[in-house]
């Protein structure tokens, strides 16, 4: 299947928003999506972007049944490991179901790896839900290691009210 992988542009944010929601539905957490294409445009394309994004596009003759040609995306940003230095964290990787199995996911990820290499990053990190077997298999086949299983790392967060409470604690 013919497709291209390009850096996202501000006008792609509506498609990215659509696919973010599709991925959230797949991850069984659609009610957790609170931002729209407006925040994506402001936060990804200003003078200080908080993320980078790649978009996979197919030619018009291969458009989806709903008329979309933007069929996949990878959203990532730079992070820092106090052990190894510069790293890339891949926050989202998604390809619409009807376009899977054609090498698009692989190409998106390879492009993220290429950007990581150009920026002298030593590692790519990401997270996967423990029940998501298709994704787990996809990543393990590429040499990914499960650090939660291997080293016991857990994700924690201070969210919403918990964060506000922490900020207001009296000295």
């Amino acid at each position: 299947m013919r497709f291209t992988i390009c850096a996202a542009k501000p006008e792609d944010c509506k498609d990215i928003e659509r696919m973010i929601m599709e991925l959230a539905v797949y991850e069984k957490m659609p009610d957790q999506v609170k931002i729209s294409h407006k925040e994506l445009e402001r936060d990804g394309f200003g003078p200080n972007p908080f993320y980078q994004c790649l978009v996979a596009e197919v030619p018009e003759e291969l458009m989806s049944k709903d008329g979309h040609t933007k069929v996949g995306y990878a959203l990532f940003f730079y992070t820092y490991s106090t052990w190894k230095g510069r790293t890339v964290y891949m926050e989202d990787l998604y390809v619409m179901p009807e376009y899977r199995g054609k090498g698009i996911g692989k190409a998106l990820m390879a492009t993220v790896a290429k950007v990581a290499k150009e920026q002298h990053c030593v590692r790519l990190q990401f997270s996967v839900l423990d029940w998501n077997k298709p994704s787990l298999d996809f990543y393990l086949a590429k040499g990914a290691e499960d650090l939660t299983a291997k080293e016991g790392w857990h994700f924690l967060r201070f969210h919403g009210i918990a964060l506000d409470n922490l900020a207001q604690e009296a000295p």
Binding site: V33, I35, T82, E91
Partner: protein
């Protein structure tokens, strides 16, 4: 001993920051994994494009450590992006030297970080903790943190340089 200040790290602090990074890595039983140097920290934190931000805890000279140090704690963080909620503050490392614990320094650092998060419009502060690190997990949970690995099933993965290069070669 209640006398300490928290301040933004400066280039002159990189040697102390690296010392504390190695101490924390030793506690996490992974000291040999630290390959970062002072030069990396300087370039990556104080160059044109900082990959991280850092605050340090400093005590007056008359309270210096057994080895003569006045920088006795630090927190390294950066901003990341969640496509569901937007900007996040990610806490990469957070450490107070053993002899200075129990005086509220850690709590004060966490409070300062959460204030930074709120001030910069972050909805959440994320970090990882090793599951065997019960004292740290308790410290965070007491303050309202939730464990996303347990609650939602997220597992952390990595792909190291060797496999990243393989992916770019395959394209």
């Amino acid at each position: 001993m209640a006398n300490f200040i928290l301040r933004k790290a400066e280039p002159k602090d990189v040697s102390d920051i690296l010392r504390l990074i190695k101490e924390l890595a030793k506690f996490e039983e992974m000291e040999d994994q630290v390959i970062l140097t002072e030069k990396d920290l300087l370039e990556d934190g104080f160059g044109d494009h900082p990959f991280y931000h850092c605050i340090v805890a400093e005590v007056p000279k008359h309270h210096q450590s057994a080895d003569g140090h006045v920088i006795i704690g630090f927190a390294m963080y950066y901003f990341t992006y969640d496509p569901w909620i937007g900007k996040l503050l990610y806490l990469e490392d957070f450490y107070v030297m053993k002899e200075y614990r129990g005086f509220g320094i850690g709590s004060e650092i966490l409070k300062k970080l959460s204030q930074t998060a709120v001030r910069t419009r972050c909805n959440s502060m994320h970090f990882i903790v090793a599951e065997w690190n019960k004292p740290s997990i308790e410290f965070y949970k007491r303050r309202g943190a939730s464990d996303l690995s347990l609650e939602e099933g997220w597992r952390l993965f990595k792909i190291d340089k060797q496999n990243l290069l393989k992916m770019t070669d395959e394209e």
